[in-house]
């Protein structure tokens, strides 16, 4: 897609540090451990163009949500500057928030005792919509989200997916030019996830031209949806580029995925091997320039395990993440 040159979001050298207080003996005595400082966001620069669908990809604890909270004025950065559509978030937070629609993570970000419609009506008033404007907008959002039938039921009776639809509707209630979507498909079943992803990409981004920052730890989601992706790890952005360009950063062209019952010793085969075990089944990802060249070695080395399947694929964003950080996007690093 053709990106406009204006920057909808500009963040420069953002630092957000949290203090973890040291423990005291019996809760009131002298400190027995020192205060710790956790650098949740550590010198992040970010420029998101108008109309761009930008992904923040990283494992849990990478600093994605903290960064989104800084962008949305929920947190004050220790240092650095952020502007949303040209409005500085510290100097003029109200104007910055007028341009923003946000979905934050968590099940209880709506009023469970109110209906879906009443929730949206309340938030519409907070965003300055008159009663008539709110009714029109809510009718529209309920229709495209497929919630018309149940709009008068209390949120407590909705499924997780329906609540997420109301959360996204809330972010869209004032038709903002910029959206911050924090893990919008987390915990949703596949059909709801598909709907939300398609809505974000086709309706919000392509049809309505909204600038979207999407945080996720699902690599497929980032790969499918985003024009550009920033990979975050330990509070820093380690790479920013299009999904294809990021994948080209992997020096090997192919990945052989071997699914085994038990453990095999593939160390020394190919350029790099990563393993992930669950319930006795281990999935090895062996990076090589040409998979055919290593097949016999793989078969020989797998005598101690039973091979369930083998699959040749291209590097994914997960492989990019492993390549850049040495860690996995989800779970512990099992790299051999």
């Amino acid at each position: 897609m053709g990106l406009k040159s204006e920057r909808a979001i500009l963040a420069q050298d953002i630092v957000k540090t949290f203090k973890k207080k040291g423990r005291r003996k019996y809760g009131i005595g002298p400190k027995i451990t020192r205060d710790e400082y956790i650098h949740a966001v550590n010198g992040v620069d970010l420029a998101v163009h108008e109309g761009e669908l930008f992904g923040l990809l990283g494992p849990n604890g990478a600093g994605k949500t903290t960064l989104v909270k800084c962008l949305s004025t929920l947190l004050l950065p220790n240092s650095g500057n952020v502007s949303i559509n040209g409005h500085d978030i510290v100097e003029d937070p109200i104007a910055a928030r007028e341009c923003l629609g946000i979905t934050t993570g968590g099940e209880r970000t709506l009023y469970w005792k109110l209906s879906g419609r009443d929730n949206l009506k309340y938030f519409a008033a907070l965003y300055g919509l008159s009663s008539e404007e709110a009714d029109k907008r809510i009718d529209y959002l309920m229709k495209i989200m497929g919630l018309e039938e149940r709009q008068h039921e209390r949120i407590e009776k909705y499924s997780t997916g329906m609540r997420q639809k109301v959360s996204i509707s809330r972010a869209l209630i004032h038709d903002p030019p910029v959206l911050l979507l924090d893990e919008p498909t987390l915990g949703l079943d596949p059909s709801f996830s598909r709907f939300i992803r398609s809505f974000i990409k086709k309706d919000l981004n392509q049809k309505q031209g909204k600038t979207i920052v999407l945080t996720t730890h699902y690599m497929d989601e980032a790969d499918q949806l985003c024009d550009r992706i920033a990979i975050m790890n330990e509070g820093k952005i380690v790479a920013v580029d299009t999904p294809e360009a990021l994948k080209r950063k992997i020096p090997q062209d192919e990945v052989l995925e071997v699914k085994c019952l038990g453990h095999a010793d593939f160390s020394g085969i190919g350029q790099r091997v990563y393993a992930d075990s669950a319930e006795g089944v281990t999935i090895y990802r062996i990076h090589a320039e040409n998979v055919e060249d290593i097949m016999s070695e793989v078969i020989q080395a797998s005598h101690s395990a039973r091979i369930l399947s083998m699959n040749v694929s291209k590097p994914t964003l997960e492989d990019v993440f492993i390549h850049l950080t040495g860690a996995r996007l989800t779970g512990e690093d099992d790299g051999q």
């Binding site: 957000k16 949290f18 203090k19 949740a40 903290t66 909270k69 949305s72 004025t73 929920l74 947190l75 004050l76 220790n78 109200i94 104007a95 928030r97 007028e98 923003l100 946000i102 934050t104 968590g106 099940e107 209880r108 970000t109 709506l110 009023y111 469970w112 005792k113 109110l114 009443d118 009506k121 309340y122 938030f123 008033a125 907070l126 965003y127 300055g128 008159s130 209390r154 809330r170």
Partner: protein, 283 residues
């Protein structure tokens, strides 16, 4: 903080306050038993005090009380004081816990990303609590009329409304302070409890100021509730006012301005602190 607001923003903030008020009504009315409890509870609390006082004095009138306040009927004196002090509840528990309640719901971050200043939510809650307390007040007056034969001067209603309005003006400042403190101290109810108890002690609800130790009498003169309760009782049951009417009004305005400014400043400091420390959504 936006001290100079455009008309457009003022309209938006008023709309947001009303939305906050309506939302609270809708949520409150889903808990019907609790709503009824809220209406009855203040009356249940006041009965032991009234009955205890009657047992001590040997009836409902006291010549000592009449000498100190100009009102001999201790029951009416106490009940009126107690009923109108309900507005202190609105400040300390209603407004003060406006944001804490959002933390419990899990919705605080959702509302804080909306383009309205944080204090607007507290004022919206003040609107809700005041209407709520107003309804309870009418209900209570009807009940005490039936049970205790308490008769009030209807012609005193207008100046009484002015006293209530000015007291609320100050109490909004108090509500902002408590609201901020409740965001820092997660056990914010302790702050509310202590403040409520202290203000109640130095306010002439069930006893005149004269019975307080000299230091507490001086502190009492800095409380808006002192002037408001005395003024309200003056117009409803002829209590003698220690200071003149306009003097009472001016002192209430002065105290109100001081409390509002302190409340806003404290609220802003706390808001920055919790956003710096990232403790906004913690509860």
């Amino acid at each position: 903080m936006d001290l100079l607001l455009s008309t457009d923003r003022i309209v938006r903030y008023l709309r947001a306050m009303n939305a906050e008020n309506m939302k609270e009504w809708k949520i409150e009315l889903t808990y019907r038993v609790d709503f009824v409890r809220g209406m009855l509870e203040p009356l249940i609390f006041v009965f032991p005090y009234v009955l205890f006082a009657m047992a001590l004095v040997g009836g409902r009138t006291s010549s000592v009380l009449e000498g100190l306040t100009g009102v001999s009927d201790g029951v009416t004196y106490t009940i009126i004081g107690y009923i109108f002090m309900g507005f202190l509840n609105t400040a300390v528990w209603g407004m003060g816990f406006a944001l804490r309640k959002e933390q419990w719901y899990g919705t605080l971050e959702s509302i804080f990303v909306a383009p309205v200043p944080r204090w607007v939510y507290v004022l919206g809650m003040a609107l809700h609590s005041t209407v709520h307390q107003g309804i309870i007040l009418f209900f209570q007056i009807a009940v005490v009329y039936v049970l205790f034969g308490v008769i009030l001067h209807v012609q005193g209603v207008l100046p009484v409304l002015v006293f209530i309005g000015l007291m609320l003006f100050s109490l909004v400042g108090l509500g902002l302070m408590v609201s901020g403190l409740a965001l820092i101290f997660k056990e914010g109810w302790i702050v509310s409890e202590v403040l409520y108890s202290l203000i109640t002690i130095v306010t002439p609800i069930a006893y005149p100021l004269a019975v307080l130790p000299p230091l507490l009498q001086k502190i009492s003169l800095t409380m808006p509730t002192t002037y408001a309760i005395t003024g309200i009782r003056h117009f409803l049951i002829d209590e003698t006012m220690g200071v003149g009417l306009w003097d009472s009004y001016s002192r209430l305005i002065l105290i109100g301005v001081c409390w509002i400014v302190s409340g806003l400043l404290m609220f802003q400091v706390v808001d920055k602190k919790v956003r710096r420390e990232g403790t906004l959504a913690e509860y």
